[in-house]
Assembly symmetry: C2
Homo-oligomer: 309 residues x 2
């Protein structure tokens, strides 16, 4: 069977694309490594219109239910490992060995956590080092942790951690917090959070688990900070492995799309955090919108192909 | 008092802009003629992610509640009648005579119903002639009505009317229905709906109220169709009166915006159905996204101005 559309990625962009695809009766499937995408790990989403406050998990559950109510199928926990275009048909292989074929493809694989690239970062991952406060905060109940970063991810991580741990050090490279002012204000009045501005982390110490970190600047008379947990919250970056296999045009690591989310490859669209769309503003609402816009254009494309036969 | 931002329009774009503005602590107000915008009159919204089925009214109530929970203020039932830019400040006047000043403006006034421009269309409006099935269907319980149009607005209007009236004629200029296939399929199997393809309406008849319409083609041996109600559902168009006062660049009647929703006028952004954004795909989800993208850029603009002082 040849699909009309394969959506790669099951986050806000991919799921919204499926909602529109179902309504346009486009024969499609979603292949998503993380059902719900990275946002499903967010502690709190406060800016998706109509929801004053909702967990990322619950928001994405609602979106998945919407997709499934319309008949959209999600192949979850599957990863596309190979993609090529053979004349007019895209041929895809999953890690588990499945083969899929489609007339069009929507790449909506989003982004992954950015690493600090310290010597022992990977070795100590899961042993005190973490990338997702929402996922791992509970392991550090009443403990001392640090968060690295100065943007929205770091601020919301610090605020969330402060509800659970004993003490949070927020380590910021620059001299101010960047992002939503409301978070910054909350950080500065929070008694459990101490902000260390103009500070970099040089080294992680610990044999079987993280014990302390080395700073490039003294704090309370010491460059060593004793810690139980260390959260790296310096944002995300796109994984463009599949895009590279097809020769997709990138700009600074993100997929270049036009106003209809079309890439430079005929039959290939892209939506969500992985693209240069929406003025580079990467939000749930912009990802959803890009998924809808892409699907509308895919519908027109398929219609024209049909008439051409 | 000079606002940081005045949002003109209280539909999905304007309300989402306010949600983001509140979180960025931008001092702003929304001035909206129709609270909730035109979508609040939609019978059924089925493609706003996370809601399988919701009335336009309920969806926009939720969005207004979200805005107000964050402290956003809506001046509803107010219309901006004048706008000019005096050096760096925008000066606005409302129809009721209020004066407002702001550093930036977001134009998000959406679209209004397109007219058929028949001789007696305005005279018979509210006397059998209507533009909004959701608003007026109940006046035609068990009666005979016609809907003009072949797109999504017309199809959803016909389907909704079929739940209430005795009989619906769907009058389509072309030879097929355009828009979401799911609506078209539902139309064609609906026993209360009869589709007249390749047909135009030439004239409305009736003294104090609509009595019949004249077609350019015979139907059941007659060019006159006896009716109680006549719904004009041929889409919408943008009202660019305010944009024209400022010399905003338009394309085919819509405001030209860049990828950050900026217009050609410094300090002026635009979002939602009134713009050329989102690849011309005009949906609730795309309007929301445009409102968010605009506000993010307005935030950066205001920050830079602040640093410049």
């Amino acid at each position: 069977m040849i699909y009309d559309l394969i959506i790669i990625g099951a986050g806000p962009a991919g799921l919204t694309a499926s909602i529109y695809a179902s309504r346009y009766k486009i024969k499609h499937v979603i292949v998503g490594e993380i059902p719900g995408g990275l946002i499903s790990q967010a502690h709190n989403v406060c800016n998706f219109p109509t929801y004053k406050e909702i967990s990322g998990f619950e928001l994405m559950e609602k979106m998945k239910n919407h997709v499934e109510a319309l008949g959209g199928q999600i192949m979850s926990m599957e990863k596309i490992s190979q993609i090529k275009k053979d004349n007019v048909i895209f041929q895809l292989k999953t890690e588990s060995g499945k083969t899929l074929e489609s007339k069009t493809v929507l790449l909506a694989t989003g982004t992954k956590y950015r690493k600090l690239n310290l010597a022992d970062e990977t070795r100590l991952l899961g042993r005190g080092v973490a990338y997702c406060a929402t996922c791992d905060a509970m392991f550090f109940k009443d403990k001392i942790v640090a968060v690295v970063g100065g943007g929205n991810s770091a601020m919301t991580a610090a605020l969330y951690l402060s509800e659970i741990v004993q003490k949070v050090y927020l380590i910021v490279r620059g001299d101010k917090l960047k992002g939503e002012m409301i978070w910054a204000d909350n950080i500065l009045v929070n008694k459990k959070i101490e902000v260390l501005f103009g500070t970099n982390v040089l080294k992680l110490n610990g044999e079987n688990k993280l014990e302390s970190i080395e700073l490039d600047k003294e704090f309370a008379g010491n460059k060593t900070l004793v810690l139980d947990g260390f959260f790296i919250e310096i944002g995300t970056e796109a994984d463009t492995t599949l895009a590279d296999m097809l020769g997709v045009k990138l700009d600074r690591g993100y997929i270049v799309v036009d106003s209809r989310q079309k890439t430079n490859i005929d039959g290939l669209w892209s939506a969500g955090d992985i693209t240069t769309g929406s003025g580079l503003f990467r939000q749930v609402i912009t990802a959803c919108s890009e998924g809808a816009v892409a699907t509308y254009d895919i519908f027109s494309y398929l219609q024209k192909k049909k008439e051409g036969n």
